[in-house]
Symmetry: C2
Subunit: 354 residues, 2 copies
Amino acid sequence: MHSFPTSSPPSAPPFTKQTLEITHSYISPFLSAHALITPHIHRTPVLTSTTLSALASTPTTPITLLFKAENLQKIGAFKIRGATHAIARLSDEQLRNGVVTHSSGNHAQALALAARTASQTRGFPIPAYIIMPHISTPSKIAATRSYGGILTFSGPTSTEREAATAEVQARTGAAYIPPYDHGDIILGQGTMALELQAQAAELGYPLDAIVAPCGGGGMLSGVAIACEGTGVRVYGAEPREGADDAARGLEEGRRVEKVGLVKGVFTVGEEEILGAMGLVVERMKVLVEPSGAVPVAVVLGGEGWKEEVERWAAEEGEEARARRGGRGYNVGVVLSGGNTTIEKIVELFGKKKE
Amino acid sequence: MHSFPTSSPPSAPPFTKQTLEITHSYISPFLSAHALITPHIHRTPVLTSTTLSALASTPTTPITLLFKAENLQKIGAFKIRGATHAIARLSDEQLRNGVVTHSSGNHAQALALAARTASQTRGFPIPAYIIMPHISTPSKIAATRSYGGILTFSGPTSTEREAATAEVQARTGAAYIPPYDHGDIILGQGTMALELQAQAAELGYPLDAIVAPCGGGGMLSGVAIACEGTGVRVYGAEPREGADDAARGLEEGRRVEKVGLVKGVFTVGEEEILGAMGLVVERMKVLVEPSGAVPVAVVLGGEGWKEEVERWAAEEGEEARARRGGRGYNVGVVLSGGNTTIEKIVELFGKKKE
């Protein structure tokens, strides 16, 4: 069973380099981003689970898993961080004509809610124009509308989506806020790593590594850059048989991997992902969407993962070993989103039995 | 979306009559019970949901729902409170031969874990003998074993279960701890009401009412007695087409109702319960078992419920109205447990579509 009362209250003081004990040169923009978005997002709890930690441990190396529950974030996913930050960085002048993006997923809901929140703080309406493929699931469409998004439907190909976006931009003068490839989005998503590091330390389990989904690449990049110089190893996780999104994420992940910030990318199959999702739901009692369960599947036994963990111990210097003092490793796992439905669960797990 | 970082840390000071601002005569034994069990249970968070509160409101009366998330409690249900308390009240001498109960549900897991925890604090082994009907679901059997319970299987009727219990008691000398009808169990379950009242007040939503499942009656009785004299109205919730358990709960609920502590018992049908369960899972992203969703179904529109709420306003004196100062009502809702499985969800919701 996991323990809950672990997150600080929302009134927790803002991070500083001192509280994080981090002094390297990449951290400052993340601290600024975090200060900007903190009033508008949840400081999501960090959950633990004895059962899942036991499953993640190797015969020689005990592992404690620390789950960053962004499935309990506003709009049900971490994407609200990037969208809120990207909007916060624009001037009143730039926001007068609204914002626009194309997304069939959580970024659509995130931008719609972030624009609505900013409308209140700025004191003028900021329309959020969302281009969605007409084949999007009804629940995603309904959710985006419920946050005030103004929808335009397009064909499903990227060419059609981009053309529709350009048309709305030309007609409205709205500022384009892409889902991934944007500095302020990456900084916003990366703020999660600051919280996770601080919360893990508060719990007495300072992080040795973080496993995050590749997704579109924005969050993995942000987490990797934010952790640079902290000694926390950052890994990407992705489904083996991928949708378009996963392929795009892989590409982005590999790019960050090449720069040396991401130590590796691990892949898992659909059965492993569903198994991990089931364990999170049944043992931790929180809902996670399949893509959000990918890092869980990796740490529970994705191909090559446990060998990687054993390498940490083998490669560890005397000083690091002394600092650890015989304890195992503490691994942060990002539960990136919880936006799925009962209907989808029935579809995914019902067919397993046939 | 609900907000999370609402519960106090586990290091919160113990309750006193002063912090609760309650001075009536029933509260003291609950405060003592809470002090005894606090080191061994989670102070579960209180969750809120804008969507569900809106659904619960009437055209004239805004309602804020405050969900006590006992589905995130140890063993996944509130029953650990009563079991921990009942064991804490026994002497070393009484515990030497272990404890025994018959249960096919959460009380079995609760007693097994509570005995294991007490073994550590008392410094000697306390076996937990659990009599389960042989038709119990494999997941319940596995969970009870995983907490160290020593299982004996019996026939499914109460006569068979009681005979098996008596046999184990005679053979081992273990102390019998029943699931419901026991003072220390009722006091233990009632501690939840103290936490819920305190947490709701901390959040700025002092409670006007609590809706709890009838279940076996132990928790409803405890909550009702603990709230006596506080001005918080306590209601029972139960399924219309009931299993044995529900019927037993109804009987117990009616008994407490007759004493005047429970203001009323509301019933809901299976469709309403599944609808409520789906909303909790999809909107609040936490898992609740069907029986734990019964109070949610009541406050979202169980027969007669909204009329009851409107009566509060109609019957309210000047003083109470002035104290409310124009705000709506704040209703605590107990999410009593989260012990269900993906397989069960597929079964329950898959058949809905056929």
